[in-house]
């Protein structure tokens, strides 16, 4: 499964974090360092498993915890319309 960033979402990296703007509502969302790394991979079309691998490597967290964090992040981003599934 992969995702893409909808055209109404603008995003920038800042100080190891990421900031997202939903241009439809002018609402902002900030992602911390781990969220920003997962976002970077998902936004580039990477799979959830790739994001989990990156978190495990970069932050020395156990795989199960990383899997849960990525799943929660994806659920949040999808619910807010900040990410959408890629139809293949």
């Amino acid at each position: 499964m992969s995702f893409r960033v909808p055209t109404h979402v603008h995003h920038r990296a800042l100080h190891d974090e990421a900031v997202l703007l939903d241009a439809r509502s002018d609402a902002y969302l900030g992602l911390n360092q781990t969220g920003a790394l997962a976002w970077e991979i998902l936004a580039a079309g990477g799979s959830p498993d790739s994001a989990v691998d990156a978190l495990v490597t970069a932050f020395d967290v156990d795989r199960e915890r990383a899997r849960t964090d990525v799943a929660v992040l994806i659920e949040t981003l999808l619910a807010r319309g900040l990410l959408e599934p890629t139809r293949t």
Partner: protein
């Protein structure tokens, strides 16, 4: 012709600005202005301002002055031209800047030796007091009330005066404007200058803190609060400005009315490169 925050303006309304040469980016003319059909917001009950839209034109309406704003033209209908000129310099011009895709921050910038500090915050938070303390120590004014930036995040100079409330204007020489504040003319910096730091007065803050990431960006976005939707990509422009500046300039949050000249100079010296 005058230059106001980087835009050349040819104005039928008298403006307290030095003359310059070049082609006009914005024409300010006197004429009839109809209210817009689409009311966007209005204030009250003590301060009566209405903002409306007519097609692509934004109409801002005070009891004694009405402005129709498009990117290249502002039409002014005023019973009090001096008051209208006072409004044009700040409240109206930030909308014009937005219409040009150039968001601005609400703050003051002062400079010394080619390096500036930006002081942001809501009205009454202590911006002018802090800036005045530095101006009295030999710093030069870059811009007051409206901070706008060029492509390399250098601050663009504004009008060469600071507006002081009467209680801060004691023993200072200047002229009172139609808003009841003293226009005080300190030494002014004519050049675009980089910021060494930005200090934001934040309500509820109890100590000085360096802001990073989303916190820094969010604080700057709050300071770009233009309530007038003058440009379709306005939020995007404010977002980009906040992230560009926060990525390049150290941002500090301080309690309101807490800044001294010595503290400001210490922050600037810590961040000078």
């Amino acid at each position: 012709m005058h230059c106001l925050f980087g835009l050349n303006v040819e104005s039928e309304l008298p403006l307290p600005l030095p003359s310059t040469e070049g082609n006009a980016d914005v024409l300010v003319t006197l004429g009839e202005v109809d209210r817009g059909d689409d009311i966007l917001w209005r204030t009250g009950p003590h301060l009566h301002i209405t903002c409306s839209r007519r097609g692509r034109t934004i109409v801002l309406d005070w009891p004694t002055a009405r402005f129709a704003i498009e990117p290249g033209r502002v039409v002014v209908q005023a019973t009090d031209p001096e008051f209208a000129g006072h409004l044009l310099l700040q409240a109206i011009w930030s909308v014009v800047l937005d219409a040009h895709g150039r968001p601005s921050l609400h703050g003051t910038a002062v400079e010394r030796d080619g390096c500036a500090v930006g002081i942001l915050g809501r009205s009454g938070s202590g911006k002018s007091t802090a800036a005045l303390a530095l101006l009295d120590r030999g710093w030069r004014l870059v811009a007051d009330d409206v901070l706008t930036f060029d492509d390399t995040e250098r601050v663009v100079p504004g009008p060469p005066f600071v507006r002081l409330r009467a209680d801060r204007a004691v023993d200072r020489i200047g002229t009172f404007d139609a808003g009841g504040k003293l226009r005080y003319y300190p030494a002014a910096c004519p050049d675009r200058v980089p910021l060494a730091a930005i200090i934001v007065h934040v309500e509820g803050q109890d100590s000085r803190v360096r802001l990073v990431g989303m916190t820094a960006a969010a604080e700057l976005i709050r300071q770009t609060d233009s309530p007038v939707p003058a440009h379709p990509a306005q939020a995007r422009h404010a977002f980009d400005l906040a992230l560009d500046v926060a990525g390049r300039v150290p941002i500090y949050a301080v309690p309101p009315r807490s800044l001294t000249a010595a503290l400001l100079e210490e922050i600037v010296m810590d961040n000078e490169t």
